[in-house]
Amino acid sequence: MIRGKPDEDEYWNSSKFKAFTFDDEDDDFTRLKESKRAVNSIRSLVEEEDEEDDVEKVSWSGEPVGSISWSVKETASSIRSTGEVRDQSFPKINTAPSLPKNSSGYSLSSLFKGKAKTGSFQSFSESFGETSIRNYAPELRKPKSEYKDYVSDWTPEETVKRMQQGKVYSLEKFRSLQDKLLLLDEAVNAHDGNVITAVLIYLKKSLSKENLFRELITREIALRHYIHFLKEIEEQKLLVELFKSLDRTEDMALMQYRDHLNIRDENKRRDFLKSCLSLPFSPDDATHVQDHYTLLERQIIIEANDKQVESSGQADIFKKYPRKASILNMPIITTLYYSCFYHYGESDGTYSSPANIRKTFRISDKQFLLTCLGARAKLKAWFDVDALFTTKNWLGYTKKRSPIGFHRIVDILQKNNAPVQVLQEYVNLVEDAEQKISLAQKYKCHDVIINTYRDLKDRQQLIVYRGKVERGSSEYRKIEEILSNSQIRWKN
């Protein structure tokens, strides 16, 4: 295949590299191009020079050229472009309404049946009357009178088999409850979900729900399919009744609760959640739903209030940091953050105060601290940050304490661009010396590093570090000073 000098392009043109050819036959790529031109005859997205490339051709949308998904877009877009272009590639078919549509020479019904088509467009549905037509759900399409001929004596077994094979069948002849149940059991035995569902559709129509529920209780598989079916068609009410009669009250409660997701309006959603409170949830879930309701109720109050305050321009905090989004439907931790951001220092009695939220929603110490810290650090309220950790013992000494390791605190502060002075203080509180040094190095807290090495009496490290700081800087001088201190008994 290769003639002449080994020119790069030639190799690719020779298409030896089958790995990336997309099509099944050898010459399919060429064929693909032809057919593509024929179909859309618009500018090819594939540049000639790229065709010898080793990777798959990709259109702008990223689909491989020639793939089905690509062609979907391609053919569709060609239509939306000018009609002129289209006319070049397709013989225009006259679509005048008066013309019979089988101008192609094929009769319509020959498609599936081989039966001569009887007439025009309007008779499509009639053609379904033919028993020989492969017809899946005849009772959905045909007048009853039409199938008296074959509503003969198919047993449940035969009927189910016919349904599975896609043949004509009828369910109407199963009239008595017993017959219907036999049919259902037979469908269940066949394991074909589609057939089971079809039978259930019929039973739902023809039996009272009390009867149907009662029978389903003893038929586990049919019951599952029935539940799935009701979910699919979104018959919420019936499903709730079913769960109730099955004594599956928790499922019922959850399902009803789930509905709140469909309610957009916050007041309606709140009222709906309130109505959920009395549902028979498990004890845990009941607490969560109660919290959910309380939260939304508060959010509505806070939102209305803050919106008003913000627009009136009364509070500086809203002027300085305009709210980016409404607080409605946000998780509780986000709400707490919001509260720590906009409502810090409010008295415990208000709905929007951090302390009140913390108490009402039983937020853990860790979560509260992290959230609060994040909000106050964001505002660069370092004094508030400081206060968060300061505790007084009974002797009146203050000490910094945290339910979370101070290294985490440092990370959070650093992410909020805390100045070195602030960072330093918390780096110092990290207990593990190694971790302390690595954090101090990361955030350039020279003092911490120098002091730590001094305390470790590690002269070597201190000398190394002197090489890293700027000559003549205050850090440099400090190191010099320590190194020349004869009081220190160096370990190395």
Binding site: K57, V58, V72, F121, F124, H292
Partner: protein, 628 residues
Amino acid sequence: MSAHLSYGRVNLNILREAARKELREFLDKCAGSKAIVWDEYLTGPFGLIAQYSLLKEHEVEKMFTLKGGRLPAADVKNIIFFVRPRLELMDIIAENVISEDKMHSPRDFHILFVPRRSMLCEQRLKEQGVLGSLINIDEYILDLIPYDGDLLSMESEGAFRECYLESDQTSLYHTAKGLMTLQALYGTIPQIFGKGECARHVANMMLRMKREFAGSQTQILPVFDSLLLLDRNIDLLTPLATQLTYEDNLRGLCRFVYGVLDLCYVKLPPEKFAAQKKQVEVGKDLPTEPKKMQLNSAEELYAEIRDKNFNAIGAALSKKAKIISAAFEERHNAKTVGEIKQFVSQLPHMQAARSSLANHTSIAELIKDITKRLLLILVDRGKWIFSLFLSHSDSASEAFFDNLTVEQEFMTGVDTDKVNTYIEDCIAQKDPLIKILRLVCMQSVCNNGLKQKILDYYKREILQTYGYEHMLTLNNLEKTGLLKPQTSTRNNYPTIRKTLKLWMEDANEQNPNDISYVYSGYAPLSIRLTQVLARPGWRSIEEVLKMLPGPHFEERQQLPAGLHKKRQQGENRTTLVFFLGGVTYAEIAALRFLSQMEDGGTEYIIATTKLINGTSWIKSLMDRPEAP
């Protein structure tokens, strides 16, 4: 495109051909010009069966994506909807049909349901008043789609949720049907093994179907020696773990960057390939479109490296690079015309190899760019220490390794009965919910359930941070057993781990000698069961099998006289392993590894309801993750 399907032990191209034939037959039934309206989800799976050229040959002139409103104009005789049997799609079809201007463009409507028609959908069409306007409703049974030379998937997204959460066994019926089709093409499978409720159910249906078709026995020499049916819920741990093979990473990366991945291709940003292209084709324009690479064994290098642990990729690529440059150097030694001729004749292949290598090197770098991970994993007295060639400031890689460390701690049973501070921290940082759920579920699975107090704590933290509505998702996870309170005081995971050797201290990623390389130490439970079944047999692990949910069983299917295979000395057995509820790429890699073992004695073909990873899997169990 299909050549790679026939290289393997079992020629899966036969299956593909059968599917193509059926498609042609259907298209020919609708005589005249046609337009196909696609349920977009189906274009991927169909792409594995046929190209546009095939459709074109059968008078398909236009293709559209299914969407509401009016259909675009097209001068065709037939409009065919290719759809999954889903109610919401029926509503769209009804809208299309109703808004069709019958006076001006009378066109015939057809529906092709894939993979099954549905009475429920037909009922909906009837309610919408359009059933009568449909000329034909048919089904295209596409149960098992050949993905690769050794891989079949049903691409049934909801299978796990349906089977284990909603107890809807329809997908199992389709599985049984698919296996019957397979047996019709490749002969009756003499032995069926299985573990789990769903496996039992599928086997029962298969045996029943076989009895029903007793008259029409296929006279084909059996290709498969045995079938192993495995429930996903016997091994919930494996999909939860972070995937470490190259294939996983590549696909994960694409999902990460582009959100979606269409089946067998990856799309790569052009700028990553610019530099390398420049060297090859000086003066040419840089590519401006994303590159798409085919991901199956048709790509030679990819087939070689995809199942490797990511940590071994660098070495594999550089080894390949050496071979290729050595081959290029050969030209200096070519003296005679004959030698030059021979060299030249090999050039195209070498060019291809070089270019493919360049692509994969770029990809590997890209993966490193994003995950910022690598390189050495050392074992130090049972505790895993990752020594990184990365600076401390690199928080992305730290997070990745922290995550991996926690996963490995869980897998080895370290502190699984306590609240894990890493999980706590991740929640506090509002990391993606799916990540949190994966980790919490993993801890639960590795501890055979969490203490009530711990479970409650996690649940409260999750609900407070991510919203109370996730109560629904947590409930789903509990129902499927992924998350559960400890019922007995006995945690049997350590016993399972020890008996099945799920944790290997000295996993060798570069030159693997055990399947545990796929997770850098953890050997997937599902694959260990497969391995033990082949040798020495499940009898040796009865105790462990009893600890896993569902029955285990063995069935034999009678072969027609004369079809009994006479195995040659040293000939390998062929086993089809079917994962009900999904399989991960890591498990596929592990099975491929077993197939290639010299003294393995068994080659594996893999089938599944869906190819999954931890994220897609957990997502399928979430209750409306997209809810407002």
